[in-house]
Structures are given as structure tokens and as C-alpha cells.
Symmetry: C2
Subunit: 254 residues, 2 copies
């Protein structure tokens, strides 16, 4: 009798698995993993495999979207699907779960730590006051969508904070500097005042690691600062509560 | 040399700690915990203490807000502060962190699994399309704030989903039925169409446990259904993508 268990790997390395995740993964007969929706920068697929003491087959985007390999295994064996972060953040994974259930295969979700709560908490802004999250893609002269900027403008109009994720493409994750370039260019084009010269932003890096980075400042200040490397995310604060102002001031102190 | 480590306990029981959390907690000389911002329904403070093999002092709201006990310990000893979920979701905890840093005490955050990503993922709605989160308090004839309803109305107007948390008071957590009563009463009073007879809602319970409950239906259907007990949360869907419609349909099937 098969089963499909979606197992969150959390944020940084193999130590971000919960005890429940570890136990569930070890109880599986077959283990798959994907690292295209996010990455664990603090380890490698081999590191994960080693810490589980088990073989893990890494699947690419097409194999996950196709799903047949996973579903075939899950039809007869207890099958684990390891996913960075909390495991049901991608539509494909939800789709896979529904297909399994539709085929009579029981499913389970083992949650993992996630950037969606970690980033607001690390910076010290209230998670209750975040509007919708947006992702900045890698742009080209022919592809520069305005929807991420529009989402930030809508949040700001409502006084809400914004979590901005940076696209994880096949050519590597988008860096914070390129994301800031995008935002500045869109501000020039759309002019909704999302990013003025005095707007304060935060760039967070290595979230979930033993030494995360938090840099807070204006666009000009961020351009001068060491922002670290991917994976990074950006937080654009909305209306600030007194305690939130203090948190930003803390991080802005050089 | 002291240190203050904020350690997330995750969602359900002692098995929701990450390996990193376990390691960090065991490396502390002094351990505090609080269970008033949230609760681990699958275990007890004693269960946590036992699984760490360490004494844990449970603090009440006043002691955490006052903070002196924690800061005094952290000034001289490696001190861990155990918090359900992801540990920096409450203003008090952020404030405590800033006070520690201000007093020259290094701090660290060890993330935990959180309802903010777990609930959307479990239901199968896209976390990117959630607007601000709101909490429904325990109301009385003299205290029935309209702000939670207003937050839902704003999200719905923007086509966004809403995560609705239920207050965890000293008299026990608010139940989903009382929360639905509140929403119905507010709809009658404010009339913004947040909750019509055909509106589909989801009630989630025991999120993070081995047997979470997800019930999807109209207000009328939910009144007839077994919604389980606290802790619960509610999700009010906004505009639905095709895959999200499928997820809701899946859960609604009796």
C-alpha cells in the first residue's frame, strides 16, 4: 500500500529539517527531491542524502510537473518528496497532491520552516501587516513585467509591508542589486512613488543560516553596502508601528 | 559571555523542532519558554522539557513583557527562549531582541514551522495571493471590533485570500464556530458582501499534526460539519486560480 509524503526541508541546510521530517523521510521506501522551486544554500543534495542515510533521487522541473515517476512509486511504496522550505508553496506540488489523492493514494504534508514567516520575523516587522508577496523575475530587454511593481504599489497604498522574493532561475538566483535596479527602473516608468530617494528598504540574505544578513537603508545607501549573495529577499516596509521603526533603526545603524 | 537565542518550537509537538533548534536549545545553560502567544496542542511544557532533557522555565505574559528575568540570564549565560511556531511573530519578542542587542547581548533566531505558510499550503491555496492576516478576538456584548471584518473586506476587494487566526486567550482559544458567528454578525452589521450564503470558506484544525482537518463549504455547510476543536484557523478564499478551485473542490467532497 503506497503513500505520498510531502516533506519540507526548511531554509538553509540539513539541520533545518524537523524531527518529524527526519522520521518520516527515514520511514519512506523511496525518496525524491526537487531543488528548482528553492535551494538550500547551506548544503548539497548529497548532504541531505547523507544526513538521511538514504538514496534520494533529484528530479528536475519537467519530471515534477509530469509527475508520473513520483505517482508510480507512491502507488506501491511509501514515497517521500523532499522540498526546500514548507513543501506546498508551489502550484505543481499541490497539483501532484490532488492527483495522488484522486488516484486513491493517501498523502501527508510535513511542514518546514519558510521564508514567508522567517524574513518578517528576522527583520522585526509584524507579519500581520504584510500584504501579498511578489517575486521579481530575471528581466531582459523584451521581458520586464510590471506586475511585481504593481503589487508593491497596492500594498503601499494599503499601508502594508511587502515581502519581495527574487526569482530562482536555471541561471542562478536573481541578486538583490539586480532586483533593486528593476524596482528603480519600474519607478521611473510607472511613477507611483513606491521607491522614492528617501524610501527605506531591507535586504535579507542567508535567512535561516547561523549568520543571516540584514541591511536596511535607502536605495542610495543599499548601493554602497555589502548585500551578500543569493539567496536574498527584499522587504519594502509600509506604514510603521513604533516598535517596527525601532527594529529598522537597529538594522540601519552601521 | 551571555547570549539570547530565540528558538521556534513549530506547530504541533516536540517533533516539530528542527535539528538546529534541538541542538541550540541543548547548548543553552538556561531555557525559558512561553505558551501564551500560541500553544503546542500535541504536547505539554513537560513533554518539551523531557525531549530536551533539560529544565525549562515557563514564563507568563507579564514576565515576558517585563523581560528582566530573561535579559538578566542572557547577560551572563547562553540563554534560550522557546516560542511556539516561528519565534519572532509577536511584537514583544522583537522588542526583547532589540533590548538584548541594545544591552550588548548577542542574539540569534532559530526558525520554526509556522501557521502562516502551513495553513495556505495544507489547503492548497497560493501563499503569494494572500493579503494581510487578521485575528478574530473573543468578543463580548461590549467588545466586538470591526477591524478583522474590514481586513477581510479589503483583501476580498483586491481578489486576495485571507488567513484568519483565532484569538488564544487566557480562557482558551476561540473556536471556529464562534469565529463564524462573529463573521456572520459583522456581515449583518457592515454588509460588504464578505460572507454571502454562497461564500466558500475553509476551517483548518490541528495544522502540523499527523491528522490535520480541512473542512470546506458555505457557512450553512460548515454549521452542519464536524470542525474539530482548537487550535483552528479559517481561510477565506479570494479570486481563485483553476488549480485552487480544484483544491477547494477536493476538500469539499464529503
Amino acid at each position: 500500500m503506497g503513500e505520498l509524503v510531502f516533506i519540507g526541508l526548511g531554509l538553509w541546510d540539513e539541520r533545518d529539517m524537523t524531527l518529524r521530517a527526519l522520521e518520516e523521510a527515514r520511514a519512506c521506501q523511496v525518496l525524491f527531491a526537487e531543488f528548482y522551486t528553492s535551494r538550500l544554500m547551506g548544503t548539497t543534495p548529497e548532504g541531505i542524502s547523507r544526513s538521511l542515510g538514504r538514496k534520494v533521487s533529484i528530479l528536475g522541473r519537467e519530471q515534477v510537473e509530469d509527475g508520473r515517476l513520483i505517482l508510480a512509486a507512491a502507488g506501491t511504496s511509501r514515497t517521500g518528496f523532499l522540498v526546500p522550505g514548507d513543501p506546498m508553496m508551489a502550484t505543481t506540488h499541490v497539483d501532484l497532491r490532488l492527483r495522488a489523492e484522486g488516484a486513491g493514494i493517501p498523502t501527508k504534508v510535513i511542514h518546514g520552516t519558510s521564508i514567508f514567516s522567517a524574513a518578517p520575523g528576522l527583520l522585526g516587522l509584524q507579519i500581520y501587516k504584510f500584504g501579498r508577496t511578489t517575486t521579481i523575475p530575471r528581466t531582459t530587454p523584451n521581458f520586464r513585467p510590471s506586475s511585481p511593481y504593481a503589487a508593491l504599489a497596492a500594498n503601499k497604498a494599503g499601508g502594508l509591508h511587502s515581502l519581495v522574493l527574487l526569482d530562482i532561475g536555471e541561471d542562478g538566483a536573481l541578486g538583490a542589486r539586480e532586483a533593486l535596479d528593476y524596482l528603480e527602473a519600474m519607478e521611473g516608468q510607472e511613477g507611483k512613488g513606491v521607491l522614492t530617494p528617501s524610501t527605506i528598504l531591507a535586504v535579507l540574505g542567508r535567512v535561516g543560516s547561523p549568520n543571516p544578513t540584514v541591511v536596511v537603508g535607502t536605495l542610495g545607501e543599499l548601493r554602497e553596502a555589502d548585500l551578500g549573495g543569493p539567496l536574498q529577499c527584499i522587504i519594502l516596509p509600509g506604514k510603521l508601528h513604533f516598535a517596527e521603526e525601532e527594529a529598522l533603526r537597529h538594522w540601519r545603524t552601521p
